[in-house]
């Protein structure tokens, strides 16, 4: 097993996968913090499924599936951003977009009969199978996304945890919501490469939700979330190389195990300590 891993690590495809995994892990770790705080799990799911439609369409016309993915998630993000202004509307708009988009996906699938293998890899991930050009594209999109995230990180945090005061202080709350949808679109397209359309939440919900169980400091929570996403992705790739099972099997298992650990063992200790401090402070 170890021999096989060491042997495979000498190959380009394995190194490419780890390089892409590094960027994807960091992006997903930060984005999932905001996805959890802003309650956007459903939107993530829709972006992901319409990414599938986008890549199915791209394959149909002979274009790169990664480009199709990006197009699918970005168009969906803009649609949700344009129509789903209020929280109450948002879920309906997401559902409406998702239903229609998946219908399109079915159409593309039926127009391209020899689609089965590629469809499988988009649905369940194939980071070790993507071409060199696509890996470069993934890393490029990831770096741009990270720069965008760094630029909006502070006002986005303000707008997320304290929207009313943020608006009063001049933070463009509505514009940031749309910017975040676009960042999410890129993160989803990235994560799909690793875990696939159907397992997307393992990288865009689990790390952020786990981190919230471990600390009450927002900065530390973001660092933990990135660490959890990175361990899941890189660990998943390494384990997959060693055992010939799909990467997504390990990524989902690792992130799930991390959550359970945080929820039942580490988290109660950390949060209990903080709450005791609160109780002592108040008395």
């Amino acid at each position: 097993m170890i021999d096989q891993l060491v042997h495979l690590l000498g190959y380009d495809f394995a190194q490419n996968a780890l390089a892409a995994g590094l960027v994807v892990g960091i992006v997903c770790g930060v984005v999932s913090r905001f996805v959890v705080m802003r309650n956007m799990a459903f939107a993530v799911h829709a972006l992901s499924e319409l990414g599938f439609t986008g890549s199915a369409g791209a394959i149909l016309v002979g274009a790169s599936p990664v480009v199709g993915l990006m197009a699918g998630t970005t168009i969906t993000a803009l649609f949700i951003g344009a129509l789903g202004v209020r929280v109450r509307e948002r879920d309906s708009v997401v559902g409406i977009a998702m239903a229609f988009g998946l219908g399109l996906g079915v159409l593309f699938l039926s127009l391209y009969p020899r689609y089965a293998t590629q469809a499988f890899s988009i649905l369940f991930g194939s980071i070790t199978g993507v071409s060199r050009g696509d890996v470069a594209l993934l890393v490029g999109i990831g770096v741009v996304t990270l720069i965008a995230l760094a630029a909006v990180y502070r006002p986005l945090t303000f707008a997320t945890v304290d929207p009313e005061v943020a608006e009063a202080r001049g933070v463009p709350v509505r514009e940031l919501a749309i910017a975040f949808l676009l960042i999410m679109a890129a993160a989803v397209a990235e994560a799909i490469q690793v875990v696939g359309v159907l397992l997307i939440l393992t990288l865009l919900i689990t790390p952020g939700a786990t981190a919230e169980r471990l600390t009450v400091s927002p900065a530390r929570a973001t660092i933990y979330s990135v660490a959890i996403a990175l361990v899941s992705v890189q660990g998943g790739i390494l384990l997959a190389l060693a055992t010939n099972l799909p990467v997504s099997v390990y990524v989902t298992s690792l992130s799930f195990a991390g959550y359970l650990l945080a929820r039942w063992i580490v988290g109660p200790i950390a949060v209990g300590r903080a709450s005791r401090r609160a109780a002592e402070g108040a008395s």
């Binding site: 705080m37 760094a150 630029a151 909006v152 990180y153 502070r154 006002p155 945090t157 303000f158 945890v161 304290d162 009313e164 005061v165 943020a166 608006e167 009063a168 202080r169 001049g170 933070v171 981190a211 919230e212 600390t215 009450v216 400091s217 927002p218 900065a219 929570a221 949060v271 903080a274 709450s275 401090r277 609160a278 002592e280 402070g281 108040a282």
Partner: protein, 283 residues
């Protein structure tokens, strides 16, 4: 007379196509404490939003701190109504105050010694030190509002806008928050605009009262404005203003309970409401 902190000149405001008030001309003097009273929907919050530059006047002019209102004016601090925050939100009081320092700026916002000092000072000034490091969602309403005031004051504003900061607080905490705001205001030429449905908790501090009802308004000292004649003229129906043990009750015939005319249809259903009611009629 010095330049007023805020001046409206023939101002007309509409909200979602509904005229809130028209042709309003008034000035809030620098260094004064102004209570803004009136029933729900009379445009108290809209008045604050116009000052914050979040909504534009339909016609007329408003001048804030000597210039046209602009979003994110650093000369303005803002304290919102108390809302309950998720107890699991990974955010400490310290982080909320920090957002008041530079949360509106772009970038990541790395911690710095200078900002930490400012946050510490602001926390000390509202005596929130003992609970500033606990998860904010687990603090009491009074503790959260203390931190909100630190957040508003940490930027060293000269104009403080408060939108029902005492709502859903019990009497003791109402008094504490009022004392904090009064103490800050006494420290220099600082102006407070205080939207409230009950003038009594701040009566000792109030220089001027602005009472808004159905597009009509009256402004002056509490003794000038809170009289049966003025209130009857404003509401257009018979209203009695009673003074009981240093408290002011506005009682109208349209108000079934004869209690809290200012907000006849929206009595907050909170436990401390019972206390307030009792305290108003007994010594």
């Amino acid at each position: 007379m010095a330049d007023p902190a805020v001046r409206f000149d023939a101002a007309t405001l509409e909200y979602h196509g509904r005229r809130i008030w028209s042709d309003m001309s008034l000035a809030f003097e620098a260094g004064s404490f102004v209570a803004i009273l009136g029933p729900n929907g009379s445009g108290k919050t809209s008045l604050l939003r116009a000052i914050l530059g979040l909504i534009a006047l339909r016609s007329g002019e408003v001048e804030v701190l000597g210039h046209a209102p602009r979003r994110g004016d650093p000369g303005i601090g803002y304290v919102p109504q108390h809302q309950s925050l998720d107890p699991d939100l990974p955010l400490r009081g310290r982080d909320l105050v920090r957002l008041g320092v530079d949360g509106h700026r772009w970038g990541i916002g790395w911690p710095s010694a200078a900002s930490r000092r400012r946050v510490d000072t602001a926390i000390r000034e509202v005596a929130a030190g003992p609970f500033a490091d606990a998860p904010i969602g687990r603090l009491s309403g009074g503790e959260q509002q203390r931190l909100r005031i630190a957040q508003a004051l940490v930027g060293d504003p000269s104009l403080l806008l408060c939108d029902e900061p005492l709502a859903s607080l019990d009497l003791r905490h109402q008094q504490e928050i009022t004392d904090l705001i009064g103490g800050w205001q006494a420290g220099g030429k600082r102006t407070v605009l205080f939207v409230t449905h009950d003038v009594n908790p701040v009566l000792a501090l109030v220089d001027q009262v602005l009472f808004v009802v159905n597009g009509r308004w009256a402004m002056g000292t509490p003794d000038e404005v809170l009289t049966s004649e003025r209130m009857t003229a404003l509401y257009g129906s018979h209203v009695d203003v009673l003074r009981v043990h240093g408290r002011i009750l506005v009682v109208g015939e349209s108000s079934g309970s004869g209690f809290e005319m200012e907000e006849p249809h929206h009595l907050p259903v909170v436990p401390d409401d019972e206390d307030r009611r009792t305290l108003r009629v007994t010594p």
